[in-house]
Symmetry: C2
């Protein structure tokens, strides 16, 4: 035997243990409970309705994963956990993890079949259309929209900070969901006003969220279907976690419609977990593309180079790629 | 917003994406295929029967996860991948990952239920006994035993190297499975001879493996049930990945029977992913204990301190803990 060990391989392959433990902890409300009050094992076991057999192993595993701290037998949230996994805080990102726990973990169990057939493996496997199904049920829709907000929060701040918003007055967020990006942009730049564009059933959820954020005076909702309807005009059009849902022809349609809706000098901002041009660094972006295999009929993630080429084909004169947060980047196209 | 980001949380929570991608790659034979010959995308797509939609994303994700390399469009195994994930090599550890892919990934989907009820979530959920079921079907048994060898290989070498074997002549491996530990000990120390002890149905698999390893002259199989039968006598008794399968009373029974089967001066070596005494470092050991929740009626992993206390209670006069490989340690008890 050489000094080589299979540690990296085993840790990666068995990573679903740690992952599912975190997802179950979010589902059980471990972090929201501890945000209210640090607690010892018997208290937590009772509050979380955990069976005594594995309660201690479960909580200590979360300590070893650095999500919890434990001092003299009292468990508490680690700083980042308290900020991002307490349901009561506006910084909560657990919505996406709740969705992953309730849906994606199971659907990813069929990854091999998806790779062999090229076919989605989610609710749509039986022929149901995922978006139609989700958007038709108010509770499921709220959950989905909250999940989308969760994964857009950090990115929204980066977009607000890293684009010359002083050159523009209006924006439109295509597929706005709850309105995390519109609310964040409007709060950061008081001269901006904007539109959230999404399917009609999103309207009450959007308006409630924007009102809660105190941005109703400058952010309004417009209902529509971005494939069937003409897009509202704005100086800047934002498309976040939208383009990767669709196949190549649909992606080009959306970029073309954005081009048409912009004034000369206007800009489109596309953001996703954009894959590095050499396709060897952004593991999350590549895995997100496999998630699109699981979740959609033709969706896939793409490199900055891919997206810039589609933008130029749509008529945009200048394009560039800028990193945002973590695996996310934005591709900017100027008309 | 502070500089805090939810990156660590999201990466951990969504870790099942990378994990399942690796598990599917093992299932599809990506690494065994590339061990024979590096190949470009169209060749791999054909050889692995991958649909074209996501074949490239899948392979590039494995590049980004450092399991594959890609040069001028030709994919090849990374060095460790080639050593540990090529089915044709004796160093293959994919057996455990195959088992995880076929069984554990799905069962872990019910972790929340397990935590709430304290009940196992595997084949035994319907009342079937897991070991009885696995041991009754030759193909399933072979797969399970190969998986056990896979996770014991590195550890077996460490045990061969880090114990004063020169002081002993015979050993017995309790719950030997295929015989990875007996074969490794016998090869490393030519003065040793030993017994693999396991259920009768393991016999042909054990004898084939030991013959293949060229160790049949010094390693023999003895069939038995370690709860019902008297254990064969030996200078050293090894129990690897055995004790964690059972509840506290059963653990103590096994240590007591080992004590009875040893001569004065004999030793028991217990190894598992032993949890650190403070229960805050060995995440894998704590997660393995949750895996025992999923897989067994009363099993759990334990700290070195726990195990030493049980050994002293069984009559062992001296005990110590020694690290092995990665998350694994051994607890040694001297009679």
């Amino acid at each position: 035997m050489s000094a080589a060990t299979p540690q990296h391989i085993m840790q990666l392959g068995m990573g679903f243990w740690a992952s599912k433990t975190v997802l179950s902890a979010v589902e059980l409300g471990v972090f929201s409970t501890l945000a209210n009050a640090p607690a010892d094992l018997p208290t937590l076991q009772r509050k979380l309705a955990l069976h005594q057999r594995s309660a201690r192993d479960f909580l200590d595993a979360l300590v070893a994963l650095k999500l919890l701290e434990r001092k003299n037998g009292i468990y508490s949230n680690a700083a980042e956990t308290d900020l991002f996994l307490d349901r009561a805080k506006p910084t909560y990102v657990g919505g996406f993890l709740e969705m992953a726990n309730a849906r994606l973990y199971g659907f990813w169990g069929s990854l091999t079949e998806a790779l062999r057939t090229g076919k989605l493996q989610n609710e749509g496997k039986g022929g149901e259309d995922f978006f139609a199904a989700v958007y038709a049920e108010p509770d499921r829709l709220r959950g989905f929209l909250a999940a989308m907000s969760a994964i857009s929060a950090g990115t929204a701040h980066a977009i607000a900070a890293n684009f010359p918003w002083e050159d523009y007055k209006t924006f439109m967020d295509l597929g706005s969901a709850q309105g995390m990006v519109p609310a964040t942009l409007a709060r950061a730049h008081i001269h901006l006003s904007g539109i959230g564009f999404d399917l009609p059933s999103v309207k009450p959820v959007f308006e409630e969220f924007i009102a809660h954020q105190g941005m109703s005076d400058r952010v309004r909702f417009q209902a529509g279907n971005f494939f069937e309807d003409i897009l509202p005009k704005a100086d800047v059009i934002v498309m976040g976690h939208i383009l990767h849902d669709w196949d190549l022809a649909q992606k080009k349609v959306l970029l073309g419609k954005a081009f048409d809706a912009l004034p000369k000098g206007g800009a489109v901002i596309v953001y996703d977990a954009i894959i590095d041009d050499d396709r060897r660094e952004n593991a999350f972006g590549l895995l997100m593309s496999l998630n699109m295999l699981i979740e959609s009929r033709g969706g896939f993630d793409y490199t900055g180079e891919d997206c810039q080429a589609w933008m130029r084909e749509a008529g945009f004169s200048k394009t560039r790629v800028e990193p945002l947060v973590g695996p996310e980047s934005m591709v900017i196209g100027l008309k």
